[in-house]
Symmetry: C2
Subunit: 194 residues, 2 copies
DNA sequence: GTTATAACCTACATGCCGTAGGTCGATAGG
DNA sequence: CCTATCGACCTACGGCATGTAGGTTATAAC
């Protein structure tokens, strides 16, 4: 059935590369069509809308991130695993800025459910097993780690650290140590949590 | 000279309200012109471009945030100040989602320098004085706090916490406690920081 | 070969940004 | 009071993006 071989796969890949090269805002149906060598209208034979095109970038990024996490976390535990988790995120954001931007998009419920997002969440939760927390505290801990990591990456990428003196990477190390330390000394007494 | 009373001020306010009501993506020159009762072309008598219009929203948000911080931080210190800093951010993000989105935009160097951003940075740094850190460590601490707060708010607003059981607000308390605890037990020995 | 399907096309409606150039009201100086 | 100026506002337009309608053609199945 195909005539020139344009597939959703190729469109999504072109969109992801365009995003990394020029920023997510430049990912348009027109630009992707140009890149693939097809008229904009033809793209709609494969994708319902421009929004779905961006969703494809997000979904790809989720899979890539989940894969890298699975690879780097295998065989690591505790603090090593925590640091690997964070490094994978930061490295991915720096080497694929457009895809990282796409990860900040909100997916619809159906798309989110079928995505690699839950796989990432499971990776994060697995790290917490070594810290000996209750199930609820594991959730809190995942949220703490996620907040610190994604917040740091967002601020660093936004240039917030560019005009103060210690290099951002120094702070990165300290932030991760602080999170690890918080998990090792997690408050068990309810009075400590007030 | 004015004929119907459109000013940069009114345009910026309309843009900010549109952002909070419909999201930052709906803030266009056309929409703001409609809201103010003027043709799109007339907006360009007051603002150079659509980008500058969005900058106005960002600048307004920075001022509002800096004002709220100054108000809530006065008279507080240590842990109280840290929690107030975080609460002001979270409350602002929840009550003004479009303005909060605008805060994630990157301003040009000239606009950034003249903004209320440095005022916010000074507020954050002032909190750290009570923790007895070196100047460099104060910077690291500001970055830790900023990462945790902005990361948590981003994930919460993005719905990342919607499908796990403990309420996000519970995690919020624990995250802030973890940051406070990290600052109180800040590593002074260089060996602890490896 | 004939036929169905789907990939691709042209053409177009709509909506945004931004520019060019004209109109008209408010104000200042004579 | 009268006029010149300035700038706020306008209409008209070009460019580019999204998305739809409807036609054409390559491929695959029979």
């Amino acid at each position: 059935m195909p005539r020139s071989g344009v597939t959703v796969e190729r469109l999504a890949l072109a969109a992801a590369e365009l995003a990394d090269a020029n920023g997510l805002a430049e990912v348009t149906v027109s630009a992707v069509a140009r890149l693939v060598g097809v008229r904009p209208a033809s793209v709609y034979s494969h994708l319902a809308s421009a929004d779905v095109l961006l969703d494809q970038v997000t979904l790809r990024a989720l899979v890539e991130l989940a894969d890298r996490l699975a690879e780097q976390l295998s065989g690591r535990s505790g603090r090593d695993a925590l640091i690997a988790f964070a490094e994978v995120h930061r490295e991915y954001a720096n080497s694929h800025p457009g895809r990282w931007q796409a990860l900040q998009r909100r997916l619809g419920p159906e798309a989110a459910a079928g995505s690699a997002g839950p796989r990432i969440a499971r990776s994060a939760r697995a790290i917490m097993r070594d810290y000996g927390l209750t199930p609820d505290d594991e959730t809190h801990a995942v949220r703490l780690l996620g907040s610190a990591v994604s917040g740091f990456i967002a601020l660093e990428g936004g240039g917030s650290f560019d005009h103060s003196t210690p290099p951002a990477s120094d702070s990165w190390v300290l932030v991760l140590n602080a999170v690890d330390s918080a998990l090792r000394n997690w408050p068990t007494d309810s009075a400590d949590r007030a």
